[in-house]
């Protein structure tokens, strides 16, 4: 089973998002970076599948040279082939991103074995476009399901479940296919020390895809205005409990 996972490097924004002065991007000077949460689970899922069935886990990211850090994070828990589609700081839309991934997949598959399964995160934490996996699947002519919280593979059949209407809906797909997963499908492991050492030395294949602009033009980013400015402090410690009970009474939530 050869699994490819597509991941995205996103800033770790913490408690408050600060924008650049031209409002075109997040000011990341003071921020660390991480693998977008759904994709962190996609890497873990791929590693578990290959632990059970054998095969290889490849990880691909489209991003700046520093995105190698996120590829190494994936290598530290078991990915063995790392691919960087290097960008020059311009923002890539979901259509251009999908095109670059399709081109890379075709190249990899012509040079070595085909991927049985390509995993994505359901949506990236920063842009939330919900579509790169679907576009890649359609371009490659493969079946696709998004929002998956449970995945079972037996032979050439995938059983993918996702939440719907207070229950679970089940899709059965044939390999090769494309699946977008959601956080909660698993609890990603912490990398071991030997894993981290191995990741440091892992080779990264770097290519530079050609950028093109999606027909969606960003004008500006802004932090939405919230009505809440500062909480009214009801009190400190147990002395605040009577005021809290009164408040709950007012809100009509007491039994």
């Amino acid at each position: 089973m050869n699994v490819l996972v597509c991941i995205k490097r996103v800033p770790d924004v913490g408690a408050r998002i600060v924008l650049s002065t031209d409002a075109q991007e997040i000011d990341t000077h003071m921020l660390g970076f991480a693998v977008s949460p759904h994709e962190e689970c996609a890497v873990e899922e791929a590693v578990r599948i290959v632990e059970l069935q054998g095969g290889s886990v490849s990880v691909l990211t489209l991003g700046p040279p520093d995105a190698v850090e996120q590829l190494r994070d994936a290598a530290a828990i078991g990915a063995t082939r790392l691919f960087l589609l290097e960008t020059d700081g311009r923002e890539w839309g979901p259509m251009a991103t999908a095109d670059a991934i399709v081109e890379a997949v075709r190249r990899h598959e012509s040079q070595s074995e085909p991927y049985d399964l390509i995993l994505f995160g359901n949506e990236a934490a920063d842009t939330g476009d919900y579509q790169v996996g679907v576009r890649v699947a359609r371009a490659l002519g493969r079946a696709c399901v998004t929002g998956v919280k449970n995945l079972e593979i037996s032979g050439a059949t995938i059983r993918a479940r996702r939440e719907f209407g207070g229950g679970d809906e089940l899709f059965e797909l044939r390999l090769p296919s494309v699946v977008s997963v959601k956080e909660g499908i698993n609890l990603p492991r912490y990398p071991s020390l030997p894993g981290r050492m191995r990741a440091k030395k892992a080779a990264v294949e770097q290519t530079t895809p050609e950028w093109h602009e999606d027909p969606v033009r960003k004008q500006a980013l802004r932090v939405p205005v919230t009505e809440r400015e500062k909480a009214e402090i009801l009190g400190t410690g147990v002395e605040a409990v009577p005021a809290l009970v009164d408040l709950l009474e007012q809100l009509g939530v007491l039994p």
Binding site: I17, A125, D168, L244
Partner: protein
């Protein structure tokens, strides 16, 4: 030109997220005089039809096919694209649900058009649609212009209110039989199972939240007790699920459940962007935190400064005492 909106419906009529999508789509249409049409898969019930009229839909297309006995994302997208191609359409809109985002992504892939997810508002002049959309789960807003037409959009259901039209429309229902091939039907729901998980987090009227400050899996005992007493659901932050203290289906946040309760009581939660994205629709937020400078305190309506392990047991005792007091 018209605006076409995919409406998801079940035994109770059109779903809430679709009513929000209809409100968004109607406002987009009104910006340039475009009437509102709706597309629905399966038979349109009387209660759904009533909602379509109330929300200003003039033409409704019931997509009917023997092969669409269960949800099939590519087939839904095919039918929607067919309908949009059948008459001049400025935008195709769906709710930002799992299905809505999935179908519209397929529609984008099928047509080579741009798809923009989780929009908050939009207007059209000539062939360009100007819109605002959520980024970072709603912690940021992006203003953008869509230059491909029709614009394919999904609607952030926690950012747009369901507002009926000022004047209800008289809705004409047309049957549409889509031309589907085997490939369109290759991915399809084959089974649905209902899970009885108690009080649903997404629909709970009261949610008691626990974060890193709870300290351990065992530390949730007073929170569970308070939740039991109030008939509330328990929600947790990503720090809690990452530590393995609670399962992910209780996670509130950008990558967990979006909640919209009357009251959210956030205990020992600092208030990271990831978490706040999931509780921005709560009517009232009350924080219990040891740190008066925690971000959650500036985003709550009320706060109690102190240790949740002391305050919650005292709160539980006070509520019980009140319940047993005469009069």
């Amino acid at each position: 030109m018209s605006v076409l909106c995919l409406v998801e419906h079940d035994d109770n009529g059109a779903i809430d997220a679709s009513l929000r999508a209809l409100s968004f789509a109607r406002a987009l249409g009104e910006s340039s005089g475009d009437p509102l049409s709706a597309a629905l898969v399966g038979e349109v019930s009387a209660s759904t039809l009533e909602a379509l009229a109330a929300f200003g839909v003039s033409e409704a297309y019931a997509i009917e096919s023997d092969e669409l006995d269960s949800y099939a994302p590519m087939a839904w997208a095919r039918a929607l694209v067919e309908l949009a191609a059948g008459s001049p359409t400025s935008a195709v809109v769906a709710a930002g649900t799992d299905r809505g985002n999935e179908v519209m992504a397929h529609a984008g892939a099928l047509t080579g058009l741009a798809m923009v997810a989780n929009c908050l508002s939009a207007s059209r002049s000539e062939t360009t649609v100007r819109l605002s959309r959520q980024r970072w789960g709603g912690s940021l807003v992006e203003d953008a212009v869509v230059e491909s037409s029709p614009a394919l959009l999904t609607v952030a259901f926690d950012g747009v209110a369901p507002e009926p039209a000022r004047m209800p429309a008289s809705t004409t229902v047309h049957e549409h039989r889509p031309t589907l091939d085997a490939k369109d039907l290759s991915v399809k729901v084959s089974e649905w199972s209902h899970l009885d998980a108690g009080i649903s987090l997404g629909e709970a009227r009261v949610v008691i939240g626990g974060g890193r400050g709870v300290g351990s899996a065992e530390g949730f005992a007073p929170i569970d007790e308070l939740a039991g007493l109030l008939g509330a659901a328990v929600g947790v932050s990503r720090a809690v699920t990452s530590a393995g203290w609670r399962s992910h289906n209780q996670q509130v946040g950008q990558t967990g459940t979006r909640i919209s309760p009357e009251l959210y009581l956030a205990c020992g939660i600092s208030g990271a962007t990831q978490h706040l994205a999931g509780c921005q629709s709560a009517k009232h937020v009350v924080a219990i935190n040891t740190d008066p400078d925690a971000p959650i305190v500036s985003r709550a309506d009320y706060a109690v400064i102190g240790d949740l392990h002391v305050i919650i047991p005292a709160l539980v005792a006070a509520i019980r005492e009140r319940g047993s007091a005469p009069g």
